[in-house]
């Protein structure tokens, strides 16, 4: 018996005690752990949400009012031709360690963002700056050569790597249109006039980093010649935004405390934020109802949980239309990956299929949040000053759909063969695909097969154009219609439909040179009209997010279509339950 007790007590010792979680003024639950804390590499919205707490961009875009406000720069100037921007950084802009924020900090950060060494999804957003793209390509080529030399043994030592880096510094100076006449002035030269450049400057990849400490945490790999910043730097980085990271427990929580050197510290409404990582939505809900968290920004956007909540008529349930569209891509190439002729190359077939989707049923029965039906690609109301041409969008009309299909030579639909819906496996993508399959069968007599794939395999098929119809979504990155429309230009790498229309491409290009914002938006809208008429994709619905917070307790939390928040403006009144 005492041996049993011995075993039990050994096991018991293993179960040692730890500490609890620190308290905070405002607690929210993130739906997943962070993928990056390095602002250059961020691309997930939960990372970007945090980045805005930590780093202050030169200008800040207000996603509720669609205006640019000063950030770390108190003012800025734009040259008449729109090619040169000059930013004047505030005298009282400081890093969390008290150092002044300088133009060099921005140049250093932007150079990092242009290096293939740190390449990330959004690197191309830097290519608006003159010379950035050629600098990126130059460095890529140099690194390739370096790696080759290292392999043969004639290179690949610390000195060679260091001298390549010196050379890179000079090349950057020569090629890239960034300069700092003094510590507080930053001059940016662009490749071409970019009417939404300030929106880009407000985006996470344009955030500054504290040059001195980042440089200290960065070293060159003599084998590859690449620079690498120690990943642990970012969990305790020096910041210039409203907060700094006080404590991080991976997969548990992150505690942010106010950065006392932040230039607008006096206006902050709270001084401690805790972000709890709760991946399981029902658990997050239980925590919210038990009063352990104040705000749930990452609830699932479809299915029974949000549907039940939205029907409950509760003041703390907030539904927000998002700047994101759910749609189906049609492969528009004349031939399919296997060499067969592609029936979807015919616009009438695409329009017919799109017309035979009863979107109301999908948003009611499948996604269950009554999302607004998408009749335009750019979501309505998501972009200030831009009105999508919804009248050109396709609405549910099975009679016309049958007619169109007959015109295209498929009189009874059953001779339209070989189509399948490719989707990444997920409960509601699968149910939507089933619903649409049965609608096409019922209204058109077209039989399609369903092809569910795991995320990675799904991406591979898309890239190889190995599909006929594929589920897709697009979320805007910056508040300009081009964030949606440019994807559909002929040479864009994300144009998965491989749809190509000369007039569309021309209009998008024309918009880039149009100085008048109103006129420009009209040009973009006429481009979108072409897109909607040609139907390279069947638009289904606009995403809706569900947020949970008590408006009586939380003041200053303003939901918007872009999932961007200003947590420093959140005032928490009253006690948690």
């Amino acid at each position: 018996m005492n041996r049993i007790v011995a075993i039990l007590s050994v096991i018991g010792l293993v179960t040692a005690c730890g500490e609890g979680v620190p308290d905070a003024d405002f607690i929210y639950a993130a739906g997943q752990e962070h993928n990056h804390l390095d602002p250059v590499k961020m691309s997930w919205s939960h990372d970007i949400r945090l980045a805005h707490c930590l780093y202050d961009t030169l200008v800040v875009f207000d996603f509720n009012d669609f205006v640019i406000r000063p950030g770390a720069a108190e003012r800025w100037e734009r040259s008449d031709d729109g090619l040169i921007y000059t930013f004047y950084i505030r005298a009282n802009a400081r890093w969390s360690n008290g150092d002044p924020v300088t133009a060099q900090d921005y140049i250093h950060a932007w150079r990092r963002a242009m290096l293939p060494d740190f390449a990330a999804d959004y690197t191309q957003l830097m290519f608006y700056i003159r010379g950035a793209e050629s600098f990126f390509n130059w460095r890529t080529e140099q690194l390739k050569q370096y790696a080759e030399l290292a392999k043969t043994g004639s290179g690949g030592h610390a000195d060679a790597a260091e001298s390549l880096w010196q050379l890179t510094g000079d090349e950057f100076q020569d090629r890239v249109g960034l300069s700092a006449p003094d510590d507080k002035t930053l001059v940016v030269r662009l490749t071409q006039s970019t009417p939404y450049f300030l929106e880009l400057v407000a985006f996470s990849i344009y955030m500054p980093v504290h040059a001195h400490s980042v440089e200290a945490a960065t070293s060159v790999n003599p084998r590859t010649g690449m620079r690498q910043t120690r990943s642990d730097y970012w969990s305790s980085s020096i910041t210039n935004g409203p907060y700094q990271i006080a404590k991080r427990e991976f997969k548990r929580y992150m505690l942010l405390t106010a950065n006392d050197h932040y230039w607008d510290r006096a206006a902050m409404k709270n001084s401690r934020i805790r972000e709890d990582i709760i991946t399981n939505a029902p658990t997050a809900l239980t925590a919210y109802h038990a009063g352990e968290v104040d705000f749930l920004p990452d609830m699932p956007s479809a299915g029974p949980i949000p549907s039940d909540l939205s029907r409950a008529d509760r003041p703390d349930v907030h539904l927000q239309k998002m700047a994101g569209t759910y749609f189906y891509n049609f492969n528009c190439q004349p031939r399919l990956a296997d060499g067969r002729e592609n029936p979807l190359a015919d616009m009438r077939v695409r329009r017919a299929l799109s017309m035979a989707i009863d979107r109301k049923t999908i948003v009611k029965r499948v996604t269950q949040l009554n999302q607004p039906i998408a009749r335009s690609y750019v979501p309505v109301g998501a972009i200030g000053g831009y009105r999508p041409p919804v009248e050109d969008g396709i609405a549910f009309d099975p009679v016309r759909a049958r007619q169109l299909l007959a015109d295209a030579g498929y009189s009874d639909g059953s001779n339209l063969k070989g189509l399948s819906i490719l989707y990444n496996t997920n409960a509601y993508h699968e149910l939507s695909a089933q619903a649409i399959k049965s609608m096409w069968q019922e209204y058109l007599g077209v039989v399609v097969t369903l092809e569910g794939e795991e995320g990675k395999a799904f991406s591979v098929k898309l890239k190889k154009q190995d599909y006929t119809i594929a589920r897709a979504a697009w979320f805007g990155d910056y508040a300009d219609a081009t964030t949606f429309l440019e994807k559909m230009t002929t040479n864009d790498g994300n144009n998965d439909c491989r749809w190509s229309n000369e007039q569309f491409d021309r209009l998008i290009e024309q918009a880039a040179f149009e100085p008048d914002p109103k006129q420009r938006n009209q040009v973009l809208a006429s481009a979108e009209s072409i897109l909607l008429r040609e139907a390279p994709m069947a638009l289904i619905f606009q995403y809706v997010n569900l947020y949970l917070y008590d408006p009586q307790r939380l003041h200053g939390l303003r939901p918007n279509a872009w999932n961007r928040w200003r947590f420093e403006q959140v005032e928490v009144g009253g006690k948690r339950q």
Partner: protein, 317 residues
Amino acid sequence: MLRLIAWRLIQLPLILAIIFVVTFTLVWMIPGNPLDRPDAQRPPPEIEQAMLRQYNLHDPWVFAGSYLQGIFLGSEHYPAPDFGPSLQYQDQRVLQIISAGLPVSVQLGAAALIVALCLGTAAGVIGALWPGSFLDLSSLAMALIGISLPSFVTGSILLVVFAGLLQWFSVVGWGSPQHYVLPAITLGVMPAAYVARFIRLGLADIMSSDYIRTARAKGLSYHHTVFKHALKVAYLPVISFLGPAAAATMTGSFVVEAVFQVPGIGTHFIHGVLHKDQFLILGVVLTYASMLVAFNLIVDIVYAWFDPRIEYAAESR
């Protein structure tokens, strides 16, 4: 005994090498680019190539070389040997992730084992000594429910009732003992049912054996016989079950970790594969494999301690 330990220790690197090769091959066969996201925009090809090069993902041989170098010798940026970066959580090293998560998984697993042993023993003893009684039937029913209900159901029910409605426990956080209770019960119910079954069968059998009758005839008290002599023998099958059970509770807590927001490494096992996070998968698999081998070794030692006949056999060989 020493020979047994030495033999197992010699086996360990060999087993790990085989597991590494198999896992490495399987991981490279998963389709897709670990750095892309199905729902997000894809960068231009040259940026995508640059992204892959940062992590040596452009070539499996270069990757294997740099990975093994990292494990044994460390790399230029990280001189201490480690498992490389995580591709999914790029500001973390795999070693950091494992060293943060493993103690949690082990603690939770250990707590679940305590639950399993306590509940299982109690139910087993009751069942063996008073078969057919109300207590026995109810413990049987509990065991049946424990085995049949998947842990996400048990866990969710416990969570909603005890953390949500009654608020006896906190939903968020990890560290203080109150966070252990619900997940440990959820995870421990299933092995408890097995323990109960082993003890119930074993004890009933032993209680009718000759030496117990002799002990009773010599005047030993009933309780003394049961707890001092019979239970010890009845525990032997439980001990050999403890090895796999410990491995199962410490490594198989994926669902429980998700339901109770426990920051263990079970979830990385699944997510690593879904995201094709090569570094994380290899790191977690190698860690788990070492743990499994270690547990089997510990069980062998404990078994020999409980049942001296095994040690004699080994020595006389």
